[in-house]
């Protein structure tokens, strides 16, 4: 195989380096947990609840236990022998490893069968029976706020987040967090406004469906655990498993190879606590691989309802905005309360509005849990505020781009929280979209039964804060380099980006650098791979670590009396008399941050802003309701792209994924909370035939001054504008407004005939 030259003066940042793992992926050799088999390994298969809310009266595992080949059947009783208080979660300790006393949604894990043969385990699962005393259930997020059906008897905040502490021991409520923001006096401003508009929007529950379904393997000794897991957050897994077991962190080792997609599904703890307990009980390695169907019962994206109200002055300036958002968190909070707060404060949109009121509620319901999905709540918000923006522009008779431009947040102006906008190229992105859309040329409207329309939308996102990343960079005696970081490469190209950043500092070709995958015994702490935070946070940490290594090399050069440009191998030869030794640099990064005050205000809410806008041209067949996208244009501010090609594919991939959430995807529940379409046969994700005729993805020229070499996150920005841009274009084409996702042919057909 061809090896790249290590030392180089070619810039590494801004170069479209092919992914470091390209060969592994096109030959089917990339390492996934999916592939892992360990000696003596047992497979676990999960028996799940068949009711949405009920007390467990009886679980009968006798027939399953008696099936030849079954090693053991485990329920919460056995779990508690290992962990007396087996509740986990990043925001609330509310999720039992297996259901205890109660089940809270259809599909909740109740028991596990272990067997050497997964088919035997699966057969045994079908022999388990359970009886429940059914309880009233609640499914709708707005109803949940006042419902008599209470999902959790008592709230158990984890204690990690200060704004959740006051919820401890709260009873008779489904509200897992209420976030409030008040700036100015919205009520008064509405009275003084020239016009006031109010709309209500909703989004549906959908699933990430990574093609590598969730999978974890645990192996144990009496006092240590190794967990091999498809996880976006190995450091969190280690800390949380150590907490559950009362063990020190160094007795829990978490390894993460490549992920076959993540999108937020593989965050915090999913199967890791379960396989850990099972391995400790069975004293053998245990693997659980979910099926595609089971993923739908594990983690989803929040359904939401958003009531939005704006006051507008005579000259088309938005003077006041009121936002009320309900997030359907399902039966367990997962990271929902963070979505409620971290996304909640951007609910008024990227507009300069003096008087703002936001109320954002995380609700428990009897549906599968909801967490983070590519955008951390932002796509739900943009869906509402950009539909609202378009409706207002239409009513006011102002061009939708002009109306946005009139109200857009400018650099240096305070956002709703009071945090000043910095390095957020909102105007530039909108302008570029206008040009690419050829907005000033009228669109051919089509004739006959097929109508044409166009629409745009723009959104922004703050980055979850404050979070920490650490990295180490090791330079070997031959001048080769290894980067150690716990960022999980789930397809976003982080290995390649980190190698480019280290290579830029050390003047080495990115292709020659090795990036070690997460192993908590080896790679330093990282908060998680989520929310487009890694390129910025880990990128900064890797840059600092590489600079530290470079600095140490320079000190050695000086100490040894070598020239400033002395090649690295010669430094080590001089120092150790042979090819020996190494230099290790370390870096840690945490941005500054200020918690919001009682009014939700802070002058430092985020380390950086992400900006994304989409424009759409489409055709609607008025006889069938079918929508066909002829153009989809996505423009984003990603700072300075570290790897332009990967940046482009990230914007594109995010937008196409959001296209699925916009036009097709919806988890459909019946009146008993049973999911009816938990398979690819009935839950349709985008394929090649769903592509728009033309798709353009562009990053505007920009710089994130605090980012590594001007870069910042890009994984989510492509999702922001897609849904509302399509709804706005449909409105433009057929004069009908849809306020609920998905924009299915049925929904359009019915709306046309209303």
């Amino acid at each position: 195989m061809k090896r790249a030259t290590q030392s180089t003066e070619t810039p590494q940042v801004g170069r479209s380096v092919p992914r470091l793992e390209s060969w592994l992926k096109v030959t089917g050799r990339a390492e996934y947990v999916h592939n892992l088999r360990l000696p003596g390994m047992l497979y676990g298969k999960i028996f799940r609840s068949s009711v949405a809310h009920g007390r467990i009266k009886r679980i009968d595992v006798a027939a399953a236990q008696a099936l030849p080949g079954v090693y053991r059947v485990v329920t919460s009783r056995e779990v508690r022998e290992v962990i007396p208080d087996p509740y986990y979660g990043p925001a609330f300790h509310d999720q039992p490893i297996l259901a205890i006393d109660k089940v809270r949604y259809v599909g909740e894990p109740v028991a596990v069968v272990l067997a050497s043969d997964p088919h035997v385990a699966e057969e045994a699962v079908h022999l388990i029976t359970a009886e429940y005393e059914e309880l009233p259930a609640v499914y709708d997020e707005v109803e949940a706020a006042t419902s008599k059906a209470i999902v959790h008897e008592v709230l158990r905040p984890a204690g990690t987040f200060p704004d959740l502490k006051h919820l401890k021991d709260r009873k008779n409520t489904n509200v897992a967090l209420d976030f409030h923001l008040r700036r100015g006096n919205a009520e008064k401003a509405f009275k003084e406004a020239h016009r006031v508009f109010e709309h209500r929007f909703s989004t549906q529950q959908v699933m990430h469906t990574p093609l590598e379904p969730l999978v974890s393997v645990a192996e144990s000794t009496e006092s240590s655990l190794t967990i091999h897991t498809a996880s976006q957050s190995p450091s969190f897994v280690r800390i949380e498993i150590a907490r559950l077991l009362g063990w020190p962190e160094n007795k829990v080792r978490v390894r993460v190879p490549f992920l076959g997609g993540g999108f937020g599904a593989k965050l915090y703890i999913k199967l890791e606590a379960l396989v850990s307990v099972l391995s400790l009980l069975a004293k053998r390695p245990v693997k659980i691989s979910l099926t595609m169907e089971e993923q739908f019962f594990t983690i989803t994206k929040h359904a939401s309802t958003f009531r939005i109200k704006s006051g507008v002055s005579k000259d088309g300036k938005i003077t006041a905005r009121e936002c009320e958002v309900w997030w359907n968190g399902g039966a367990y909070a997962d990271i929902g309360p963070r979505v409620t707060q971290k996304s909640g404060f951007t609910a008024p949109g990227p507009y300069d509005i003096e008087h703002v009121a936001v109320d954002s509620y995380a609700l428990y319901t009897n549906l599968p849990p909801a967490g983070a999905l590519r955008g951390f709540g932002i796509p739900q918000l943009v869906w509402a505020y950009e539909g609202h923006t378009d409706l207002m522009a239409r009513e006011l008779g102002i061009d939708p781009i002009e109306f946005r431009r009139r109200n857009l947040l400018r650099e240096g102006r305070p956002q709703a929280t009071g945090t000043v906008m910095k390095d957020a190229a909102l105007e530039k992105v909108l302008e570029r979209l206008e040009t690419l859309m050829d907005w000033n040329t009228p669109l051919d409207r089509g004739n006959g039964t097929v109508k044409k329309g166009r629409g745009i939308a723009i959104g922004f996102k703050a980055c979850v804060s404050p979070t920490t990343s650490l990295a180490a960079v090791n330079v070997n005696a031959d001048g080769s380099c290894i980067v150690y970081c716990s960022t999980a490469d789930m397809g976003q190209g982080s290995d390649t980006a980190m190698a480019q950043i280290a290579g830029e500092v050390l003047h080495m070709a990115a292709e020659s650098i090795t990036v070690v995958h997460s192993d908590t015994d080896v790679t330093p702490y990282d908060m998680a791979t989520l929310g487009s935070r890694s390129l910025f946070h880990m990128g900064n940490a890797v840059k600092l670590a590489a600079e530290d290594a470079l600095n140490k090399l320079n000190v050695l050069r000086k100490e040894l009396g070598l020239a400033a440009d002395c090649p690295i191998p010669d430094i080590f030869k001089k120092k150790y008399g042979m090819q020996a030794g190494n230099v290790a640099g370390t870096g840690s990064y945490i941005p500054s941050y200020k918690s919001p005050d009682a009014n939700g205000l802070t002058d430092n809410a985020t380390p950086f802003w992400m900006v994304g806008a989409s424009g759409v041209e489409l055709e609607v067949d008025t006889e069938t309701g079918k929508v066909r996208l002829t153009r989809l244009i996505n423009v984003a501010d990603v700072g300075t792209p570290i790897n332009p090609k990967i940046v482009e594919t990230q914007i594109s991939g995010a937008a196409i994924m959001q296209l699925g959430f916009t036009l097709h995807e919806k988890m459909q529940f019946d009146a008993q909370g049973q999911l009816r379409n938990a398979s690819f046969a009935e839950y349709k994700i985008p394929g090649l035939l769903d592509l728009p005729k033309e798709i353009i993805n562009e990053a505007v020229t920009a710089e994130q001054k605090t980012g590594p070499f001007g870069g910042k996150g890009v994984g989510e920005s492509g999702t922001f504008g897609v849904s509302p841009a399509i709804a706005n274009a449909i409105h433009d084409a057929i004069g009908v407004r849809l306020t609920s996702l998905p924009l299915s042919p049925e929904a359009i057909f019915m709306a046309l005939r209303k």
């Binding site: 996934y32 093609l211 076959g260 993540g262 397809g491 991939g653």
Partner: protein, 154 residues
């Protein structure tokens, strides 16, 4: 219950003890350590489990191993050197997480064997049974076109 079957795997004659319910993907993973074909949706809807049996692509998660008796089975691991399709996928950046990639590569080879110069519509239709959740679709289309050019040159 188990019985021995013989078949050709990536050009070599092999045998395996299989149970009647086992899929070909399972047997390749458990008996031969080949993980390039992988089960994802379990319904033959996504193409991650694509294998080539007697020259035709099949969904390996639905294809019973016993049906492979005497057949010639080929997987992504068959070729030692990268072919034009694999090179084109790398050059076009036609994958992200890589989980679906072997299936796309095998289907693209079959497409180009049948149609050496497919247009965009033909590519979309032929590969529509393979799903990519990362949605690297525009890059995949580019890669197929590039692979076609590379093959014609070769």
């Amino acid at each position: 219950m188990r019985r021995e079957i013989q078949f050709w795997l990536n050009g070599r004659e092999v045998s395996a003890q299989i149970a009647p319910h086992e899929s070909l993907v399972e047997v390749l993973q458990e008996n031969f350590g080949l993980y390039g074909a992988r089960e994802s949706c379990g319904q033959g809807m996504c193409g991650c489990c694509t294998l080539v049996v007697d020259g035709r692509a099949v969904s390996g998660c639905l294809y019973l191993a016993s049906l492979a008796e005497g057949a010639s089975v080929s997987t992504i691991e068959a070729n030692a050197e990268l072919d034009e399709v694999q090179q084109a996928f790398i050059e076009s950046g036609a994958f992200q997480c890589g989980f679906c990639t072997p299936g796309f590569v095998l289907m693209t080879r079959q497409l180009l064997d049948e149609q050496p110069d497919p247009d965009e519509e033909a590519i979309k239709h032929y590969l529509s049974g393979n799903l990519c959740r990362c949605a690297a679709y525009p890059e995949i289309i580019e890669a197929v076109k590039l692979a076609a050019r590379k093959r014609r040159k070769a």
